[in-house]
Structure formats: structure tokens, C-alpha cells
Amino acid sequence: MIDVAVVDYGMGNLRSVEQALRKVAPNDKIIVSDDAGVIANARRVVFPGQGAMPDCMRELETRGLRNAVLEAARNKPFLGICIGLQMLFEHSTEGNVAGLGILRGEVVRFASDLRDAQGSRLKVPHMGWNRVHQISTPRPEVEDALAFSTAGGGKLDSGLAGTHPLWNGIGQNARFYFVHSYYVRPQDAALIQATSDYPQPFVCAVARDNLFGVQFHPEKSQTAGLKLLQNFVQWNP
């Protein structure tokens, strides 16, 4: 049996994800696959993604992988990364395209005129290492303010590390590597597992049941990223 299947729908490079999984789970059978049957039979599924969301959605359809991904997201440990997180939502303003609709909410672009506190221009894509504020306990009233406001302002940072098992052993505010121009706005604030700031808070990790999704790239985030992947391959939701 396959321990971890990495969904290959022909977009970009999945080598990095595969290599990082091999590093944290040297005895597991890990396979990069575009075969719906392999994905259906794997114990865990990683759903990565790079490039533009309309292309990713189209390729997923063309290769007949939509149902396999939907099914996996329903019933086994499932990790969405970057566009793989974004595709879980209902809609993206990138190309005005529908996502898989597993999670309610939309995907929107960073504004093009962002400035930091010193007045320097913030570039898009948001590229590089940023701090990830893990959410410790759900606090719906504060989370609502964050999830619905593009202006942000809602700070969820209680100072406590996140309670989700995938944060196990990862320090609060640890830095992860990001490269993206769009981010998710979940409708249900209780899903939010982490935020990052650019310059306002945006959601960078969500979870529901057997599902976890991250905007950053754990496979490229050195120690903290490998720890998250290790937590994923050991996770039994």
C-alpha cells in the first residue's frame, strides 16, 4: 500500500515535495502520481500546486483527478500546499475561476500598492520567509473580524502555540517560505489555524477534520517545514 501519494496534475515541479517527504519518512512508500486509482488507495494525500489557479483547475479536470481529490479530502489525512490550499475553496479572483468548493470562501489577490510601516513598497508576489502565527484556541468573534476584512486589523495572536497536531514541535511565529500573490479568505473563521502579516494579517493555514492546508511551502522551509511534514505523515485524525 502507498503511504503518501502526491497528486501530480502536470503543473510545475513536485520533486521538492517528494524529496522532503522522503527525508521525514524514509521508510514510507511515497509516490508522485497522476493516477486516480493510486490516489484512492493511498493512506495519505498531499495536494501541492504552483502556477495559475485556472490552469491548475483545468489540468485537474483534464486528467480526471477531480473526484479522486474530492474523495481523498473527505476521508484521509490530506495536506494542501499553496495553490493546493487555494483550490479547496469555492472561488478565486485569479482568472475568476471556481475551485473545488470543499471549503467555503474565496481566494483574493494582495493589493498592488501595499506599504510597510516605514512606507517602503511591499512587492507582489509575497516572496520569502515570513512569520506564521499559530492559532491556539478558536475565538469566533475576533476571527470573524479577520476573515471578512481585507483591511485586517484583527490580531489572533495569543502568544500560545497552535493546538493542532500539525504544529507539534514548531515554535510560535516560526518562519516559513512563501511565494504567492493570492491568499484564502475562509468564510468559517473556525477553520483558521494560522495567519501571517503582509502588512495586514492574512490566513496562511486552515484545517477541518482530516484536512490541513497551508499557503507556505513546508518542503522549502528548512527545519520548521520538515517538522510540519513529519507531523503530517504521523497524523491520525
Binding site: M11, G12, N13, R15, S16, Q19, A20, R22, K23, Q50, G51, A52, S112, D116, S120, R121, L122, K123, V124, P125, H126, M127, G128, W129, N130, R131, R175, Y177, F178, V179, H180, D197, Y198, P199, E219, K220, S221, Q222, G225, L226
Partner: protein, 252 residues
Amino acid sequence: MLAKRIIPCLDVTAGRVVKGVSFVELRDAGDPVEIARRYDEQGADELTFLDITASSDDRGIIFRIIEQVASQVFIPLTVGGGVREVGDVRNLLNAGADKVSINTSAVLNPQLVADAAGRYGSQCIVVAIDAKQTGTGCWEVFTHGGRKATGLDAVKWAKKMQGLGAGEILLTSMDRDGQKNGFDLPLTRAVTDALEIPVIASGGVGNLQHLADGVKQGGADAVLAASIFHFGEYTVQQAKQFMATQGIEVRL
């Protein structure tokens, strides 16, 4: 907040890391895989490999190096040098590169940048620009490792590359490369102010203050250096600690 990145650059030829002065006089700096691991341990935010092999004979070497590095080092890897077609981009990504840097071929065939970004996403397409000052506030783009003038204005060219889908610009001052007297700050500032996408400053780092200046005065999103790290003058960690004391956000 997002950290400013420090990127050690490894110029690779015949399977070795080398470093030259103004693109000539090469000096051996060691084994690329070993050096990559060392910088990773020191906290490098990314690594850039430039394949400066003149002939196409040794082309396969860079793929083997990237494969080896990518299986051991889990930070972003950029690879450039000799990228001529979309197939080259694919092969480098498959070998384990996260981003591919395009320089001369972008000038000869700008559509390559659009095609590669369209196929693999802007996030993995870096356009490298080698620029030389031609007057006050004027810089010209050079290609073929700095040997060929193009007549293109560096700032306008950078904007054009952004428009075609480049996700990032790697900007090297040929006047400063290997001179150790600091980045060309007016060039860096001119390009970074003109663009929405991140700019990596390169060429001329001789000490840690130069790195800080590239960010604070040049406005760079990332700073790239080679010889100060290769020959043991400073570690990446020392560079980050110094930048932090200057009030720059870094990943420590």
C-alpha cells in the same frame, strides 16, 4: 513581517564553485554540494547556482549537482546559466530547482520568459539582468556573461520582463561585480522603485555594511553575495546578525 533574504551565489563550472572578478580571473572555491550544505546550516534563505560553463559539453554536471543538493537542502534553489528554451526550464525544475534564472535568452527571445512563466508560473521565473553604467542614472543591459552590449536600458528592460511574467529580477552591476566596494545603489534603487516584483541586488559585496546598504538604500528585497561567504570572511549567520542590528528584518 517578511524577512529580507540573504542569498549566497555559487558560480559553477566543471563541477566546482569558482569566483571571478568582473566576470573573469576565476578562483576555485570548492565542492558545490558541500558548500550548499554549509550555507544551509548557516541559515541561508535561498541558494543561487549559476552554471557558467562556456561549452555545452559539461551541461549534465549542473543537473547532477542540483539533484544532490535538492535531496539534502530544503530551502529554495535557483539555477541559471545557459537556459535557452522552455525545455531547459523544465529539466532544471525536474532536477530539483525551484526557480530558473534566464539572462541572455530573455534578450534574444523575450517570448521565452512569457512562455516559461505561462507554463510553470511566474514564481519560478527569475530574469537576471547584467547592467553597466553608461551615464548618470543610465544603465545598459549586457548579455553573454557581460561581453555583449544590447543597447537596452536596464530599468525599462526590467519593467518589460515584469510585464512578460518574470516573478523576480536578479540585478547584477557589472561595474561592481567582484570589486568588493558595494552594490551599485542608484541602479538598485532605480530598478526596485520601478517594479512591483521583488529585486535581488547583486555585484560588489565586500563587507556586511554593503549588504545592509543594499536593503536600506537600494531598497532590495534580497541581497546576493559570493566571495565574502566562499572564502570564509563571514558566515551567513554573521551577515544576518549584522543586518538585524541595523534594524533590518531577517530570519535568524
